[in-house]
């Protein structure tokens, strides 16, 4: 790939159920650099499991700054079911100067119909924070007994997007189990909704997704180090992308989102 890459979906810290190759931040950064990544949007595995998200976000910010070699941008965790979650959102913006936040409703035990979600999305939009929503991380057929997490039900999301002016949304892991075309198209039509490719499967999957949502809505995401980084990299090769569409997916779309 001859384009600089923005990876919108990487993880720092430790996955609790196995050690992952490259789950050390320096090793991860080296892997990403070797793959042509110039910028990576990083969330923390701790943000899925911890309650003290203030310290999770502090550590994430420090790790990005001290170990990221200029490549990592922190995306803090906010859980709208925790007391005073608004302060986590405020700190992500005002204290840590993050470009966005990463939500994990299925891990935090709430649905998108919960009224707190609408308030959180509105709050993020007012602060011009990007919002990443984790739809699915691990195949449900392989989860451990203690790590059972359902796939997030996306049906309420299109209406939420329509009701939230200024919201810029990135869906992470939206394609586990085979996403339905009409549901994805409806989401894309509802507002500024973007999709990354880590769980996009099927031969030539990116070419197919371009037909569904247009190339402007597709971002490069690897879910590293949970997934092998090369999976996302090789998908660009498999889908016969070249020139402008390759650059759009590789970096231009993400950079435009960050700058808007």
């Amino acid at each position: 790939m001859n384009t600089d890459v923005v990876d919108v979906y990487v993880w720092l810290s430790r996955w609790p159920f196995r050690r992952l190759p490259a789950d050390d931040t320096r090793q991860l950064v080296a892997k990403l650099k070797a793959g042509g990544v110039k910028t990576a949007w990083a969330g923390s595995f701790d943000g899925l499991f911890h309650r003290d998200l203030a310290t999770v976000n502090e550590r994430l910010t420090a790790d990005c700054r001290e170990l990221g070699d200029g490549l990592l941008r922190p995306f803090g965790s906010v859980n709208p079911k925790l007391p005073e979650w608004e302060d986590d959102l405020r700190r992500c913006h005002e204290v840590h100067a993050m470009p966005g936040v990463r939500l994990a409703p299925a891990y935090h035990g709430y649905s998108l119909e919960d009224p707190a979600v609408a308030r959180l999305l509105a709050g993020a939009a007012e602060r011009r924070l990007l919002v990443e929503i984790l739809v699915s991380l691990e195949d449900q057929r392989t989860q451990t007994t203690l790590g059972r997490v359902p796939q997030l039900e996306l049906a309420p999301l299109a209406d939420l997007v329509k009701q939230t002016p200024g919201l810029r949304l990135v869906l992470l892991g939206a394609f586990h189990g085979g996403a339905k075309r009409d549901a994805i198209e409806r989401l894309a039509a509802s507002g500024e909704v973007y999709f990354e490719i880590a769980t996009l499967e099927g031969m030539g999957g990116i070419s197919r997704l371009i037909e569904w949502v247009t190339v402007e809505r597709i971002l490069f995401g690897s879910s590293s180090p949970f997934f092998y980084f090369d999976s996302a990299r090789l998908k660009l090769q498999e889908s016969e992308l070249a020139g402008r569409p390759l650059e759009q997916i590789g970096s231009l779309n993400a950079n435009r989102l960050l700058e808007s």
Binding site: G204, Y228, E238
Partner: protein, 265 residues
């Protein structure tokens, strides 16, 4: 990796877009070419049948035979058989492997492979030196099909057929369990295909089984070649082991039957 390895894909299907097996095969190979895959193994027709009748087994094998027609230099066929229809499966093995171009058999989810009823199928395939591929999954959500085998079932089958090479499809899906289950049974190889590209699968398989028991496959077109190749290309293992997994081991496993059929690779 320093040089382009010879990639043989153990696990493909003809369910790509297309009106005929020929068109579907051409679509599969278009993408295989993009990913520099030299050879593919294909099995089962379309739509997939979880518990096919004898007639349906024959139809699906006919679809594979048709798909192979223009691709004998790039593709190998495996004969779809079922433990629910042993006699019909034996006839299909004779038709497609003994007397036809196919080089392996595929068992899917009709009957669990720990059932001794399957033994005549395994014996016939072994006599012919056909590659024996058994789908397996440990589904931790409890949603295995009633006839879906686990790696434990394959170990039970292996004990009744000592020395016969068997392939554990998908490494059992939940690969940390699958690798452990087959570890002490050296005649069992694992297929990396058809699960998420979760980092660590290949490193654990190589560590616990040895690289010579690990085989690359994709499960394309349902899975992307890219996500499955990444399990090998992106693994923290040495290049010689990557070459074994990407093709060397499968070539070794197929050596006898290819020689018998006069196939030069």
């Amino acid at each position: 990796m320093a040089a382009q390895p010879r990639i043989w894909d153990l696990h493909c299907h003809i369910s790509a877009a297309g009106r005929t097996p020929t068109e579907r095969m051409a679509e599969l190979m278009r993408y295989a070419d993009r990913m520099r895959i030299e050879r593919v193994c294909i099995y089962m027709g379309y739509p997939h049948s979880t518990n096919p009748s004898p007639e349906r087994l024959r139809e699906e094998n006919d679809q594979v035979l048709e798909a192979l027609e223009h691709w004998h230099d790039r593709a190998f066929g495996f004969c779809y058989v079922s433990g629910e229809h042993v006699d019909a499966s034996l006839r299909e093995i004779d038709r497609c492997v003994r007397d036809g171009p196919m080089v392996g058999i595929k068992l899917w989810v009709a009957r669990r492979c720990n059932d001794p009823a399957l033994d005549p199928i395994i014996r016939r395939a072994a006599e012919l030196k056909a590659v024996i591929f058994q789908h397996t999954w440990f589904k931790t959500d409890g949603k295995n099909f009633s006839g879906e085998s686990t790696p434990d079932d394959l170990v039970a089958l292996a004990k009744r057929h000592p020395g016969v090479p068997l392939i554990c499809g998908h490494t059992g899906g939940t690969w940390e369990l699958g690798i452990r289950a087959v570890r002490a049974t050296p005649q069992i190889y694992v297929d990396l295909a058809g699960s998420d590209p979760t980092a660590g699968i290949t490193e654990m398989a190589v560590r616990e089984l040895g690289a010579e028991r690990v085989i690359y496959g994709s499960d394309a077109p349902g899975r992307s070649f890219a996500s499955q190749l990444a399990k090998v290309v992106g693994a923290s293992i040495d290049d010689a082991d990557k070459e074994r997994i990407l093709g060397g081991n499968l070539r070794r496993l197929m050596k006898e039957i290819l020689a018998k059929k006069g196939v030069r690779t």
